[in-house]
């Protein structure tokens, strides 16, 4: 797909044509002005309150600039003012579609400072919940992506399955969106009786339904026409912009923190060959187009199911939380832990001076880093493609703004 240098109508028109006599002839006596359109903060396709300032020449986008900050809630500053455990509910709220993963990232960063051993059952439950939440998050990503393209029904089908997933979470921790389930040292609550077999039933059903999404949306001819060859991110560009997660694997770069910086049980799972890392191959168009990114997400849902099944196979009774005091005093030091969030690398950098409160609590949000690529991708596309590109970055504004 073309970028800025291939089409610049306003410049081309103002130059006119150089004649033999040395004069310039202005062939076009009608000069049009580019229109600036505010897409957002209240717009159905910006996934929350993001605002993209788009410069348009008719339907053609000649420039785009994302504006952030409409959902800024000082998450990091709050982290430096409340106790270690009290910050946990705030982590739910930045990437509200993958709260389990956020809990996990923060807990792991604090645990790294404490240097404590997590019970095996707790790690199993953490992995099951994080992967189920990944499925839920990808369901929203693909569903709303379909919605951006104009396919409304797959969105509701995906919500049907997500609803089940949320019901499972409700049973284990009482919340449906902001769980605070994964705690420092383990998990908050043991799985209620029968919960694990319910998860298994969910996996069985999901595998059937997954095929439905794949056929109905991903293989739909109009969907492919709308998404293939649009918003192409080359391998170099993906590395240059520091993309992570499905955005990176959509450009065929083999990088997944679950395997490459193994944490929790992922090392064991990977060595058991229980899951693979789907890499886009440019199947429907160019490598790194929006279809590829959506495809990676769809395939990852299946891999998550495999991981959950592995855990269900191996899970044993045991303690679910390490022995930790009620008021945490973390030994001085600093730690950075990056985990594979559904959207990419979610990093937590925490510094402790030995007190009850963190000195620094920095969050590296994947959506925020992935968003930077928008400005580069959008010029030269049509307005409808701009929507498709925003959707394919799968941003959660709560996390870009924090």
């Amino acid at each position: 797909m073309s970028t800025t240098d291939t089409y610049e109508p306003s410049i081309a028109q103002s130059k006119g044509e150089l004649l033999d006599s040395g004069e310039r002839e202005y062939m076009l006596d009608v000069r049009t002005q580019d229109m600036e359109v505010n897409m957002g903060p209240q717009h159905p396709a910006t996934h929350g309150v993001m605002r993209v300032l788009i410069r348009c020449d008719g339907e053609l986008v000649t420039g785009a600039q994302p504006h952030l900050g409409y959902l800024h809630r000082c998450a990091e500053k709050i982290g430096e003012n409340v106790e270690w455990l009290q910050y946990l509910p705030y982590t739910d709220r930045y990437d509200y579609l993958a709260a389990m993963n956020n809990n996990l990232g923060y807990s792991m960063a604090v645990e790294a400072l404490m240097g404590i051993e997590i019970p095996r059952r707790a790690m199993m439950l953490r992995t099951i919940c994080a992967e189920l939440n990944r499925i839920g998050s990808h369901l929203i990503a693909i569903g709303t992506y379909g919605l951006d393209i104009g396919a409304i029904t797959p969105f509701l089908y995906m919500f049907r399955e997500r609803e089940w997933m949320m019901a499972l979470f409700e049973k284990i921790c009482g919340a449906r969106l902001t769980y605070s389930y994964i705690r420092i040292g383990g998990v908050f609550n043991d799985a209620p009786p029968g919960w694990l077999s319910e998860v298994e039933a969910f996996c069985d059903t999901f595998e059937v339904k997954w095929k439905e999404y794949y056929d109905l949306l991903m293989q739909n001819h109009i969907f492919v026409q709308r998404t293939a060859n649009i918003g192409v991110i080359s391998r170099e560009m993906a590395l240059d912009f520091g993309l992570t997660g499905p955005m990176l694997r959509g450009s065929n770069i083999d990088w997944d923190l679950r395997r490459d910086t193994p944490y929790e049980l992922y090392d064991e799972i990977w060595k058991d060959k229980a899951f693979e890392i789907p890499l886009a191959s440019g199947e429907k168009g160019t490598l790194g187009d929006t279809w590829d990114r959506a495809w990676v997400r769809v395939m990852e849902m299946m891999e998550s199911i495999k991981i959950v099944r592995w855990c269900l196979d191996k899970v044993e009774p045991g303690p679910i939380i390490a022995e930790i005091p009620k008021t945490l005093r973390i030994p001085p030091g600093e730690a950075y832990v990056g985990i594979e969030n559904p959207r990419g690398e979610l990093g937590h950098y925490v510094v402790s001076d030995g007190g009850k409160i963190a000195v620094r609590c920095r969050v590296r949000g994947p959506s925020f880093a992935n968003l930077a690529v928008l400005e580069e991708l959008m010029p030269g596309t049509l307005l409808a493609d701009a929507i498709a590109i925003i959707g394919s970055t799968d941003i959660v504004v709560g996390e870009t703004d924090r």
Partner: protein, 383 residues
């Protein structure tokens, strides 16, 4: 139902032309009523009937849309207002009427207020040429399909007016898309309709329908390949074109909600907004009914041929069967359009244009050529 009004004063009838309502009024005219009052009353009554039909069709269609979308999406749709929510459109209508009448500050007030009225008026004008039965119609135009196509394409002007006068960038985009799309798809729409018109030899909807009579009311429909093998491709082209004309998915670009917020309707609310809504659903029914007139037998169905056999041509029972047939066929088409809407994603504007100009128009021309050759050279061999 009005065919009982066999003219008692043939002089009156001849001087004002044919119109079922007028025939009926002439039949019951008391002595003291002057002759010039008849056509005026007929127009008033006819307009009222057309408006009532449009309103009823729209209400039923909106209910159907919700139910169809609900069941496709594993939901129930409206269930609270009446049995399975059948009174929901009425409740919505009341809500829309009670809403505040908003005109944006920067809008061109005159055009803004006029646009929805123009849209609905042109659709009502098109409905005037739509016969509900073989003898119950507002006006039996010799060039009926011309009237319908001309009037429905006038709605575009209203949409462009709405988009321009709203003084909103999204509305402007919607209006420009609508203009481009309708211009591109009017051509294949008109050309693909030429195929059945050629076979029928008439522009009159009732005559086209009568031309498909016999064969148990089903085997002489123009769509069958033994009538003309170019009819089926022509129908497919026609169907794609009416999807674009009525702004239905996958061609709902003028109001693409994920791109343009609500397109040309962004700034409208309340009853004005509902005028656009009514126009959309009435246009859907009208186009589907036109499609069934020209491809699927019109009034002809096993039901209406049974009624004709039982009670005679033009009898009340026959006309009821005719009306039921055309409404059922229209709603079958509407159901298909809804099914597509809730299944398919939206195409992009350049794809819409490419499809219209590069594929549909040439294909429609090929269909007309083929059908013409078939009618002139091959069909006479056994007809």
């Amino acid at each position: 139902m009005l065919s009982v009004a066999q003219s008692t004063e043939s002089g009156l009838k001849e001087s004002f032309g044919t119109n079922a309502v007028q025939d009926f009024l002439i039949g019951i005219k008391p002595e003291f009523v002057p002759a010039w009052a008849i056509p005026l009353t007929a127009i008033g009554v006819g307009m009222g009937i057309v408006l009532a039909i449009v309103a009823l069709l729209t209400m039923f269609s909106t209910w159907l849309e919700r139910k169809v979308s609900g069941h496709i999406q594993c939901r129930y749709g409206p269930m609270r207002v009446g049995w399975h929510g059948w009174l929901q459109p009425l409740a919505d209508g009341v809500k829309l009427l009670l809403k505040e009448d908003l005109v944006p500050l920067g809008a061109d007030r005159v055009l803004f207020v006029m646009a929805p009225a123009l849209v609905l008026a042109s659709l009502l004008g098109a409905m005037a040429a739509f016969p509900l039965t073989g003898a119950f119609y507002f006006a039996n135009f010799e060039l009926g399909i011309f009237m319908i196509l001309a009037m429905t394409s006038t709605t575009t002007i209203g949409v462009v007016m709405a988009g321009w006068s709203s003084n909103s960038k999204w509305s402007l985009y919607g209006a420009m898309r609508e203009a481009a799309q309708v211009v591109a798809y009017e051509i294949p729409l008109g050309i693909s309709l030429l195929v059945p018109i050629m076979v029928a030899g008439s522009f009159n909807l009732i005559e086209v329908s009568n031309g498909q009579g016999g064969g148990f009311g089903i085997f002489n429909w123009y769509i069958w390949p033994w009538v003309n093998p170019f009819m089926l491709p022509a129908f497919l082209l026609f169907f794609v074109a009416i999807l674009a004309e009525t702004k239905r998915a996958p061609f709902d670009l003028p109001e693409a909600e994920s791109e343009l917020v609500a397109g040309f309707m962004t700034e409208y609310s309340g009853i004005r907004w509902s005028f656009f809504f009514m126009e959309e659903y009435a246009a859907m029914f009208l186009y589907c009914a036109v499609g069934s007139f020209f491809f699927f037998g019109g009034f002809e169905s096993p039901l209406s041929s049974l009624a004709e056999g039982m009670a005679g041509t033009g009898s009340v029972l026959h006309q009821l069967a005719q009306g039921a047939t055309i409404i059922l066929k229209g709603f079958a088409g509407i159901f298909l359009m809804m099914w597509l809407r809730w299944t398919l994603p939206r195409v992009r504007i350049d794809q819409v244009m490419t499809m219209g100009y590069k594929y549909l128009t040439p294909l429609a021309l090929v269909c007309v050529l083929g059908a013409g050759v078939w009618e002139a050279l091959i069909a006479p061999l056994w007809r």
